[in-house]
């Protein structure tokens, strides 16, 4: 019943969106908001000239939201399109392709995975047959090799058989070792592979022409950051992130677009509190099982999904920081 209702309201929203476009807008951009693409077209918005992004919802991946929980987008060049992340399901990936086709006929040259997490790359299979070259951090194939099977089984419960059936783990073939430019035809995007931070395979994408930065999950806003790499590594690279000369960012999670580098402020503060609390517990001899119950509790009110991820972050932080 509940699912049916949600589907209905999503369809309604989408229809209203289409009506609004037909009536008011000349460019084909859907209005922002927590809108799921129940039908065929992911509701992207234009964030700069030739750059579009979809804002995912702050939630866990479920069959109801089709895994559409992270921000994805694309950059249109003179010769082709670069897609940044494929989304949390093949259904979302297809809806993203439909959104691309709604604004350009240029071929999809690259699909860039910003990192290993399922919400960013479960949609990869949708791009097979488009001719897109799959691009990722040099550590991404290894990370997917050790987690892929687990992801496919662990998401079955929340995502459901219908969505999971067509999801496949597809590793990148073009690997980024440090920094590399991709030429989309009169438009250069700069890819940078980072040291372990959110994961050990984080990649950012900067459009030089407009100063739009796709941060992947190196930047979380409003949605509690999740730690699956190195907390100290993430903190240490915040300055280098901040120094990227971008105007606006499409964060991995949170509002699209966001002001750069202000977008990093919230997570910087959270990391500071988490690190402080865990270091203090370790120094006092408080065991892991106890320390993780209270660490960063003062940050609770500042984030969505705090209960879903904070204890996990604290656990990972403790295991990392006790080696200092």
């Amino acid at each position: 019943m509940l699912t049916g209702l949600k589907t209905f309201s999503r369809r309604t929203i989408l229809k209203q969106g289409k009506a609004a476009i037909a009536g008011v807008l000349s460019c084909r951009v859907l209005p922002p908001g927590p809108v799921f693409a129940a039908g065929g077209v992911l509701p992207v918005r234009q964030v700069a000239d030739g750059i579009f992004a979809f804002a995912g919802t702050d939630a866990l991946m479920t069959d109801a939201n089709r895994g559409e929980i992270c921000n994805v987008g694309f950059v249109i060049g003179g010769d082709g399109v670069a897609v940044i992340d494929s989304g949390g399901s093949v259904a979302e990936g297809r809806a993203l392709i439909a959104a691309i086709r709604a604004v350009t006929d240029k071929p999809i040259a690259y699909l860039i995975n910003t990192h290993m997490h399922p919400d960013h790359c479960f949609g990869n299979a949708a791009f097979e047959g488009t001719g897109a070259v799959l691009v990722g951090h040099h550590n991404l194939p290894r990370a997917l090799a050790s987690r892929g099977e687990f992801y496919l089984s662990s998401y079955r419960e929340s995502m459901g058989e219908a969505l999971m059936r067509e999801i496949r783990i597809i590793p990148p073939t073009k690997l980024i070792n440090d920094e590399e430019n991709l030429d989309l035809g009169g438009r250069i995007i700069r890819l940078k592979a980072w040291k372990p931070a959110h994961t050990d395979n984080d990649l950012t994408v900067l459009d030089e022409k407009t100063g739009v930065l796709f941060t992947g999950d190196l930047c979380f806003i409003r949605h509690l950051p999740t730690l699956d790499g190195s907390l100290t590594g993430w903190i240490a690279q915040l300055e280098a992130l901040k120094a990227i000369r971008a105007k606006i960012a499409v964060p991995g999670h949170g509002p699209v677009p966001a002001k750069w580098p202000d977008a990093l402020e919230d997570e910087r503060r959270y990391f500071e509190v988490l690190t402080h609390d865990i270091r203090q517990a370790i120094a006092a001899g408080v065991p892991l099982a106890m320390a993780i119950r209270t660490a960063a509790e003062s940050e609770r009110g500042n984030w969505h999904l705090f209960d879903a991820y904070n204890v996990r972050n604290a656990t990972a932080a403790y295991a990392e920081l006790e080696w200092e």
């Binding site: 290894r142 662990s154 079955r156 099982a289 993780i292 656990t315």
Partner: protein, 286 residues
Amino acid sequence: MNAQPQRTRSMRHRISLVVLTALLGAFPLLPVHAEQTSVPENAVWSSLKSDVFGDRVIEAANGVIRIEAPKRAEDAAIVPVDLHFNSEKAGRIKAVTLIVDENPSPVAAVFKFGPDAGVTHLATRLRVNAYSYVRAIAETEDGKLHMVQAFVKASGGCSAPAMKNQDEAMASLGKMKLRVFPPKAPGAEAMNRATEMQLMIRHPNNSGLQMDQLTRYYIPAHFIQGLTISQGDRLIMTMEGGISISEDPNFRFEFHSNPGEDIKVEASDTEGMKFENQWPLASSAL
């Protein structure tokens, strides 16, 4: 001289086979179990039980051993588990077997304690792949087995029982750290007090579930399989480990210490590597 490496190799081979066989069997079951919030004494345990303990009788723990584990594995790669032992109930505990029913390699570790080690508490960290019972089976000196268990729900979201920072783990392979915590009762008898200690070993304790992209074969598991902790010439405990112990194996325990005698640790892994370390107890304080 030649016998040792050969034995190490055949051991590794055997363990890899066990991992693989269990993997093929365990993964397809996962979604079924994931939908149940509580599992009764089940077929998985029945079959494990006879594999590990044969037809020996296993009694309920009745306070001989206690287990503390989180209801939910927030980080699937690091699930803290605490074991408390009460030797007054049924005599000295000789050994404890730690099992995660639903993991590809369920027997996480077998700990054996020295005759006068006086270990009363042992905490470690486990990988928990799926909704699973975590069990501890204690063997007392009379040969009886006492079991206690906790049900742990698998973590949600993208938390996987895999290494977060693989290069870092390999770069500092075998590095050890020992911490000694001050006694809980400040006025405790100095000559005969329980000392709390934490041993950390840098090791990927690799699950071997990584598939080589080119060959499509699973890369062999690489983990700490043997560990001996002693003080002076006195054995505190040994561990035979498996891949269900988290990366960077970590053991925090309370035992009867002899002040002034060195703590000695020897570990060996499935690649035949040996790691040794020694600390004077007095100077390695908190």
